[in-house]
Each structure stands twice: as C-alpha cells, then as structure tokens.
C-alpha cells in the first residue's frame, strides 16, 4: 500500500473588472494511485499583487491579464475607495 500526496492548482479563474486571478490549490491523497481525498486551499492574486512566488501558470495569467491599463484602473479603484 502506497500513500502519495500531490498538490496541483486545479482551478484558475479570472474574475471581475480588474481580472483578479482566483487560484484553487488542491491537495490530493492517493492510495496505490487511486484518489482517496482532495482538499482545497484558496487565494486571490490582485493586479497589484507580488507574483514572484506564484506558479508559472499564475505568472503567465498575470502577464496576460494584469496589463498596465488594468493595474492603473485598479489603483484608481483603490484610491477612490480609500476612506480618507
């Protein structure tokens, strides 16, 4: 009997006006190659996020979707919603 664990980003979603990247990371436990458990961890990558620690897939999406125009629009949104 062999138990193995693998981690994959099994869902990458681009949502909203500012192209937030929603990342779902699945931890999959397998017994003799057959999946017996799958659990999820989530995080969101915003246009102003540091992507240096992200996966290559997320970096590629950030490059594609977090354009200068999107970053500028998001910064404007944050400034407009600043309580002060």
């Amino acid at each position: 009997m062999a138990l193995t664990e693998e981690t994959v980003q099994d869902k990458l979603e681009i949502v909203g006006d500012f192209k937030h990247i929603q990342v779902r990371t699945a931890t999959i436990i397998k017994k003799d190659g057959v999946e017996i458990s799958r659990s999820f961890h989530r995080h969101v990558v915003a246009p102003n996020s540091d992507v240096s620690g992200e996966s290559d897939d997320v970096k590629a999406l950030a490059t594609q979707f977090h354009t200068d125009a999107i970053k500028t629009a998001y910064a404007k949104h944050l400034a407009e919603s600043d309580p002060n």
Binding site: G16, D17, R24, S39, F40, H41, R42, H43, V44, N84
Partner: protein, 243 residues
C-alpha cells in the same frame, strides 16, 4: 417481435411497434402495473398505477424527465427518493434549481477549503511570522462564509495608512451593496488602545480594512499599519463573490 444473433453469436430480441404507446405491459393479477413505452422517438419506462410515475428518456435532447408510463409529462409531481428511502450521493457537473427555474434559483457551486489570512499594511508587508495563521471557508453558490484566526509573533515590516487583512479566498463582488462588514470577536496585542474592533471588505477586492473604536460613543477609526503590533484576532465574515 424478432430474434437474431449478432456477429458474436449473442441472441438479441427486438420489439418493433409502429405507433406511440405501450410496447410491453407488465401485469399483476390481470391488472397493468407497469409499462415500457415509446412516444415520439423517446423511450419510456414506468409504473402505470395511480397517475403514473416513470422516466422518459430523450436521447436527442440529452435529458430524461418525469412522466407517466406512456411518456406524458408529470411536471413537479414525482419525488426522487423519499424521507425514509433516500438515494445516497448525487453527483452533478452543473447545478440544481431550487424553488424555481430562473438563474437566481440555481445553486451551482459548493466548496469547502482553507485560506491563509494575512494582517499587514496597505503599502507593504514583509518579514512577518505567525504563531497561528489559519482560515477556513465554505462557498455556497455565490456566498462565501470565511473564518480566520491570526496571531502574529512578529509583525515584520509593515507600512501604510491602513492595516489590511488580506488573503481572502475569493474576490468580493463589485457593488455598493458589497462592503461586507464583520466584527472581530477576539483581539489582543494590538499596537493601539481600542475598545472594539471590526472591519469590512472593500468591494471588488480580496482585501479588508480594520476599524476600531477607542471607547463608547467615539467614532469609527481605521487601524493603521503602525497599529497592528503583535496582534491576535479572530473573526468570521459572510460575503458575495462573482465566481
């Protein structure tokens, strides 16, 4: 009725009828209790007792739906399972319409998981360490219920006009009705004297402001990055997300 053998010598029996209706009647004591039928190009099987309870299989339409044993529709009349005789699990790739058939009635997602809450500054956050940094969520449709327990052991380097709670598992919807607020039920170790602590998620972001009062009757203020200290906080929030 015809019998034939295929190329593997398996015997196959065929029933060929020209018109819609019953192909086989199943009887008990000379009374029909069930039928195998056809209607249009659809196959039907079901009980003919009472008003009838059957399933009509429409291969062209990629659907099956409740009918009587002759394939006539029985809308909103036939249960799937019963209170003491239930099916076990239901696997759906799409969603379930509950209480209506409109888009607003469709439950299309359920998910449980974890997230990593971060208490940092609106300008920068680095070098933090936590003794506890745990978050869980349950997403039901477009509604997210998130819970978090954060305890900083070292605040690291944080800067900014505001303290931010970051790392939420889903983005908040973009609506003026989407500034979901939350009380912080437990807090300790802040770098600022407060009598109550709360916050709200900024619309169309995965980021929350932290707000506080310094005493009864005082106005709400925003916690700054410098006010984080070695904070420990526990909170829960419910909010809507677009995906």
């Amino acid at each position: 009725m015809s019998n034939a053998r295929d190329t593997a010598k398996n015997l196959k029996t065929g029933l060929n009828v020209a018109a819609a209706g019953s192909i086989i009647d199943v009887q008990k004591a000379n009374s029909t209790v069930g039928q195998i039928s056809n209607i249009g190009n659809d196959f039907v099987v079901g009980s003919s007792t009472g008003s009838g309870a059957g399933l009509r299989f429409d291969g062209s339409g990629n659907l099956m739906y409740p009918s009587n044993s002759l394939g006539n529709s029985r809308d909103n009349a036939v249960d799937l399972g019963a209170s003491s005789v239930r099916f076990k699990d239901l696997y759906l790739g799409g969603g379930a319409y509950l209480g209506g058939t409109g888009a607003s009635n469709k439950l299309d997602d359920y998910e449980e998981g974890t997230w990593t809450p971060v208490l940092g500054g609106s300008t920068s956050t680095s070098g933090q360490s936590y003794s506890v940094q745990a978050g869980t969520y349950t997403k039901i449709g477009n509604t997210v219920n998130a819970h978090a327990y954060i305890a900083l052991s070292s605040v690291g380097t944080v800067s900014g006009t505001y303290a931010y709670i970051m790392g939420f598992p889903f983005n908040v919807t973009n609506s003026n009705g989407s500034y979901p607020a939350f009380p912080i039920g437990y807090f300790a170790g802040l770098g600022q004297n407060v009598s109550s602590l709360g916050g709200y998620l900024n619309k169309n972001t995965p980021t929350a402001y932290v707000t506080f009062r310094q005493g009864a009757g005082t106005s709400i203020q925003y916690l700054s990055a410098g006010g984080i200290g070695a904070a420990a906080i526990i909170f829960s929030i419910t909010y809507n997300t677009a995906a």
